[in-house]
């Protein structure tokens, strides 16, 4: 093969491509020729109902009335572990988007998000943000790279109709994992529906397993100085997997359909096929806007803990970050939008009430339990002004709402979180797929894998 030939062909091709391609690049002009800054922002999830989309568009229109020099284009977008990396590499993310608490540090380390520290610190409430929540938005350099929102604690979601049919009291959800197991069996036996289900894919199997381990007092990694040690194979994880195993194989209350991720388990639950599952406390919003759940069937309980001093609810949330490709003007505009769309409604009464009104008009859920981003007093004030507009069945969430401040909120594993979750997915899958799965040895292997990942970083 001749090298000169290749080079010649490549050069020819490149020259010719110039003329063809400049035509394409001009169409994606995001500039500010008329003095306006244009930003694209995460608007709604794929499959969201028309009313949800209309509501987001309405809020964007309102925002542009007060921010004359900004043009906001909301887009359909959802953070998904399987599509996000290609979008990140391709630079096709919206100007502003949400990532899980767990990923900010990694993205910062790889220069994938914009430094908006100054813009954020200039916001009036910057100093009041809950330090533990704000920590998730910081890079290792201590700067703030995004605004937290949608702070949640994982809870136990259950189907009240199935509880009733199984002869259980829908107002008395389980408070221990033995209760969960017994109730799941009752649902399975009496209704034929799946008593309990868990996510298994897209790192979410690991996320929920970690939640269960936390509830039983375990931790997935420990830190001393800069060094992280994997402790995936702790007793609590083993116990959690033990519950899953007995529900799957002894009680058969976890049915054969086990390939669930966040979206499909929501879908199955909303269709009344699942008795109980664990997910974020704010998932009810998605169940309404995407899956059209019947509100009467829905119940939310605090995650059952076992009383050990370390046991608690896994908490997390989203960080609203700005694309590294954004110009400084776009970064400013994006922060203004995030402030407007996600955060100020939590601290500013007039904003909060106005927002509730918009949501109410389009019948969007109001009053779904979230966790305080600021202090408890601010949160309580927000709850008070929201009260007249609440349209979610809060009475069916009593167990969670009373438990949320007594339970310890435990943050997700700090280092390589998604990779750790990814390493746990196969473990959950194996226990569900293989009757004779050896939990101890599976966890031992997973622990070694996680340690390898931690050592590399």
């Amino acid at each position: 093969m001749s090298r000169t030939r290749i080079r010649c062909a490549a050069a020819l091709a490149a020259v010719a491509s110039l003329s063809v391609l400049t035509a394409c690049s001009s169409s994606s002009d995001k500039g500010s020729s008329d003095g306006k800054v244009t930003i694209t922002v995460e608007g709604w999830r794929p499959g969201d109902q028309k009313a949800t989309i209309a509501s987001v568009k309405q809020q964007a229109a309102d925002f542009m009335k007060t921010h004359k020099n900004i043009k906001v284009i909301p887009k359909e977008w959802q953070w998904k572990s399987d599509t996000f990396p290609a979008q990140l590499a391709g630079g096709t993310l919206p100007t502003s988007f949400r990532v899980p608490f767990t990923d900010t540090k990694g993205l910062v380390a790889h220069h994938q998000v914009a430094d908006i520290n100054d813009e954020i610190m200039a916001l009036p409430y910057a100093k009041q943000l809950n330090p533990t929540v704000l920590a998730a938005a910081k890079g290792t350099d201590g700067k703030v790279y995004g605004l937290p929102s949608d702070v949640y604690a994982n809870g136990l979601h259950y189907n009240r109709t199935l509880f009733k049919k199984a002869g259980l009291d829908p107002d008395k959800p389980p408070t221990t994992w033995d209760d969960v197991r017994a109730d799941a069996k009752a649902i399975q036996d009496k209704t034929g529906m799946t008593g309990y289900a868990t996510m298994t894919k897209e790192n979410q199997g690991g996320w929920i397993l970690t939640t269960l381990a936390y509830a039983l007092g375990g931790r997935m990694e420990t830190q001393s100085g800069d060094k992280y040690t994997a402790t995936v194979d702790n007793d609590a994880t083993k116990q959690a997997l033990g519950y899953i195993k007995s529900m799957r194989w002894d009680d058969k209350s976890i049915s054969g359909n086990t390939s669930y991720d966040w979206g499909t388990i929501n879908q199955a639950f909303s269709a009344g096929k699942i008795g109980m599952y664990v997910s974020g406390s704010d998932v009810y919003n998605a169940l309404v806007t995407t899956n059209k759940i019947n509100p009467d069937e829905y119940g939310l309980a605090a995650i059952p803990t076992n009383g050990s001093p370390d046991s608690g609810a896994l908490g997390g949330g989203s960080i609203n970050v700005v694309s590294a490709k954004a110009t400084k003007a776009q970064q400013k505009a994006a922060v203004a939008w995030i402030d407007y769309f996600r955060v100020s409604k939590l601290v500013d009464k007039s904003r909060g009430v106005a927002d509730a009104k918009t949501l109410a008009e389009t019948k969007q859920p109001i009053g779904t339990p979230t966790f305080p981003e600021f202090d408890k007093a601010t949160w309580q004030k927000q709850q008070d002004w929201l009260k007249p507009y609440v349209n979610v069945p809060q009475a069916q969430m009593t167990s969670f709402l009373t438990g949320m401040f007594t339970q310890q909120l435990v943050s997700e594993p700090a280092s390589q979180t998604q990779a750790l979750y990814a390493a746990l997915d196969p473990v959950v899958q194996k226990v569900l797929a293989d009757k004779n799965a050896d939990i101890d040895s599976l966890l031992k292997t997973a622990n070694a894998n996680v340690q390898g990942i931690l050592d590399k970083s």
Binding site: M1, S2, R5, I6, A9, A10, A13, A14, V15, S17, L18, V20, L21, T22, C24, S25, S27, S28, R45, P46, G47, D48, K75, E76, T83, A86, Q87, A89, G90, G91, T92, D261, G263, T264, Q267, A271, T290, N291, K292
Partner: protein, 327 residues
């Protein structure tokens, strides 16, 4: 770019089939032979013996039943379930409309899921990839077969060499190339160009076209030359009109490949408003109720099936050029 790689190395046998049958009049002859002249392993004599006649009929009927259940069955089930309420499909998947049909599903799927838009996207991508493939294959085939410059053989070898590298293996570097085009430094991501242009790099098309042009009657081309026809006129007025059969076959498979492609549009068209059906449907499966979703699947399936039934001669004569031989 089609990830349906198996079509690529199939050139030899298939180019032979197409090139061989496509010459003037030859295609009609071949088809004629395919349909009537050809004969199987049983003779008149065999078939007159009752035992053989019955055995043969039994085997043939068994195959027909097998095909009806195996090949058509799943599609019939889809057609049935697409217009059945979700609960009926979940509770009695094999009953036929226990509580009546729900024809509104089709409309809901089309309207609420905006299938129309994704359908148009699919058409745009199919048409654009087809155009790119046609332009590259016909001009290259013409230059390599008729004009034959000195470096032609080398270039042809370079083209054929790419057949050894399956397109899927190039996924990552191809993605990075499209992300930041050499020299021009523009990104084609989220533009249809990202779907059109790489489709053109099909060595299979170039080879099949060149083979076909090689077999065109020399006298006509020479006569045109003597009449003073330039390169371009000869290409347009002589070579292309004579190539209709092979253009048809390549077109059908170009369109079908674009219709079927999944992973490439998945990564280069992250913007939902630009995605084709094959990429959009998996995303919608998470959030759409089962009956509506099945209706969406039915709509997306019926279009290529109709296309196939209309152009079946090209498909079947092409000898399963595209035949993903995986199974």
């Amino acid at each position: 770019m089609s990830v349906d790689i198996s079509s690529r190395p199939l050139v030899n046998a298939e180019a032979e089939a197409v090139a061989g049958t496509a010459g003037a009049g030859a295609s009609r002859r071949a088809r004629h032979r395919l349909e009537s002249e050809s004969r199987g392993f049983t003779s008149e004599f065999d078939r007159r013996r009752p035992a053989i006649r019955w055995a043969r009929r039994a085997v043939q009927i068994a195959l027909l039943i097998f095909l009806l259940i195996g090949a058509l069955g799943p599609l019939l089930w889809l057609a049935k379930s697409a217009v059945t309420p979700t609960q009926d499909t979940l509770r009695h998947p094999m009953s036929i409309w226990p509580h009546g049909a729900d024809w509104v599903n089709l409309k809901t799927a089309w309207v609420d899921l905006h299938l129309g838009r994704y359908f148009v996207n699919t058409l745009i991508i199919a048409f654009g990839s087809w155009a790119t493939q046609m332009i590259v294959a016909t001009t290259a085939g013409y230059a390599l077969s008729i004009l034959r410059p000195r470096y032609g053989r080398f270039l042809y070898a370079m083209v054929l060499a790419t057949m050894f590298v399956p397109t899927v293996v190039l996924l990552v570097p191809l993605y990075l190339t499209v992300l930041d085009m050499p020299v021009a430094h523009v990104s084609l991501i989220n533009t249809f160009w990202a779907a059109f242009l790489p489709a053109g790099a099909s060595a299979f098309n170039v080879a099949i076209m060149k083979r076909f042009f090689d077999n065109l009657p020399t006298e006509i081309i020479e006569a045109a030359r003597v009449d003073g026809a330039g390169d371009f006129r000869m290409f347009r007025s002589i070579v292309l009109p004579m190539s209709r059969p092979v253009l048809g076959v390549v077109s059908v498979f170009a369109v079908l490949a674009a219709w079927k492609d999944f992973i490439w549009p998945l990564i280069v068209l992250p913007d939902p408003s630009k995605q084709p059906l094959s990429v959009r449907l998996p995303a919608l499966s998470q959030t759409t109720e089962l009956d509506i979703f099945l209706a969406a699947l039915l709509i997306s399936t019926s279009i290529p099936i109709v296309f196939f039934l209309i152009f079946q001669r090209f498909f079947l004569r092409g000898g399963g050029l595209d035949g993903a031989v995986k199974g």
